[in-house]
Amino acid sequence: MAVCPVYTTQSLNSTCSISTPSKTHFSSHHNHLVFYRTSKRTSKRGGSSSCVITCSAGDSQTVVIGLAADSGCGKSTFMRRLTSVFGGAAEPPKGGNPDSNTLISDMTTVICLDDYHSLDRTGRKEKGVTALDPRANDFDLMYEQVKALKSGIAVDKPIYNHVSGLLDPPELIKPPKILVIEGLHPMFDERVRDLLDFSIYLDISNEVKFAWKIQRDMAERGHSLESIKASIEARKPDFDAFIDPQKQYADAVIEVLPTQLIPDDNEGKVLRVRLIMKEGVEHFSPVYLFDEGSTISWIPCGRKLTCSYPGIKFSYGPDTYFGHEVSVLEMDGQFDRLDELIYVESHLSNLSTKFYGEVTQQMLKHADFPGSNNGTGLFQTIVGLKIRDLYEQITASKTAAPLQATKA
């Protein structure tokens, strides 16, 4: 049953762009009916005086997810897990710019917000600003394009080339079923924040960030411990001023801290990960352990399950985070064996899985990803399943509403 929303020109406040239904590089289930209507009013950008009324069979609106994190903090791994939950691998657009940051799969399109830099590398050097600074980003364009994609209009999105540091010619982005915007500032601008259906912030503590960056960069010639440290220290003021405050707006925060199970641990291999879930978010019900709303501390290792050192420790409880009511699920330690993972999964509730063992299956599918043996992988997978649940709820409610309208 095709739902066909007809948008009048009043509802399309932003510029109308003509989307060509041909030349799809991924399978599209949309049938586009394009009506051209010339109007005397010329829009500000491009001067196009015709509007497109798109009729899409199936979903009428794109679900927009925002993911914020500093660079080197696991955004790419999260993206791969998320797209895998929906099925299929996300690939860069075929036949386009090889340095494109966009990833496209059947259901999802991932846009890197670095593409909305207003200053390229040389520009930032001249002005002495970092990429973290809002002055280096064009939030107006970001808002307009995300709004357009959410309404089902394709956009020409600029490309920021990370290799050359220049802004490349734009690429066409078709509105997907699920749009993920990942980068440094998805929740910085209030207008963009209002467009997000769900937002996630990856909060990595300083010690863990340092350890991860060492792992990443020590293979590079030229890098030393001092240069890595200097780089983190230099970026910290801008990070604390512009990026960190976004965590108060996130619906889910994945906080990664050093472990408490090993005294004086400085290796940073074992991690303590907290999943902070905001209460009262539409279509999102937090994961809980045993009894929702109570405070639980749980060590699964014992008679039924044997774990190796340092073991696993869980805790769950309500809390407040920046003035909001939240539920916090915390995992400290590592999984060594498959049966530990399935044992833990069987005791968690509200996971939004479609079958028993789905979390374990997803974790095993990507056992080579970083974090697959600790809370980062587990919570990323769980958030991915929650997003799938959120998407299904939103599309179900959207198809239900117009049917009711036609009945009335």
Partner: protein, 126 residues
């Protein structure tokens, strides 16, 4: 079938036009008897181009670190110093992504993604 023929006709020209192809002068058409060669030659050159990207990036990372250290020797709190270290971070991230992408390049997987119906790539799941 007609499309297969056109594909075969296009590829030798594609091989000939690749600038850093290792195949020198003879523009033979070996792929008719040895179809795997048809796959490998564009991939080889692509692999050479892909291999060049992390190397280029590594050099850029090294250079940017030197520049950042110079910029910060004058004034550690200045905008130039901070912007220089941010550039180091950006390039390091790009280099690490390039290295990861290189690790994932399996020629058979790449071929089968585009041509799942060929004999090498058919899967029998039921």
């Amino acid at each position: 079938m007609a499309t297969l023929f056109t594909l075969n006709l296009v590829t030798p020209r594609a091989i000939a036009s690749l600038p850093d192809s290792t195949k020198g002068s003879p523009i033979k058409v070996p792929y008719l008897n040895q179809p795997w060669k048809r796959i490998l030659s564009p991939l080889e050159s692509r692999r050479m181009q892909v291999r060049a990207a992390p190397d280029r990036l590594s050099e850029k990372v090294e250079q940017s670190i030197k520049e950042a250290q110079e910029a910060c020797s004058d004034d550690p709190a200045s905008g130039e110093c901070v912007a220089a270290w941010d550039e180091v971070e950006e390039l390091s991230a790009a280099a690490s992504h390039a290295r990861d992408r290189l690790k994932d390049n399996d020629p058979l997987e790449n071929y089968c993604q585009d041509n799942p119906e060929t004999d090498e790539c058919k899967t029998y799941d039921n």
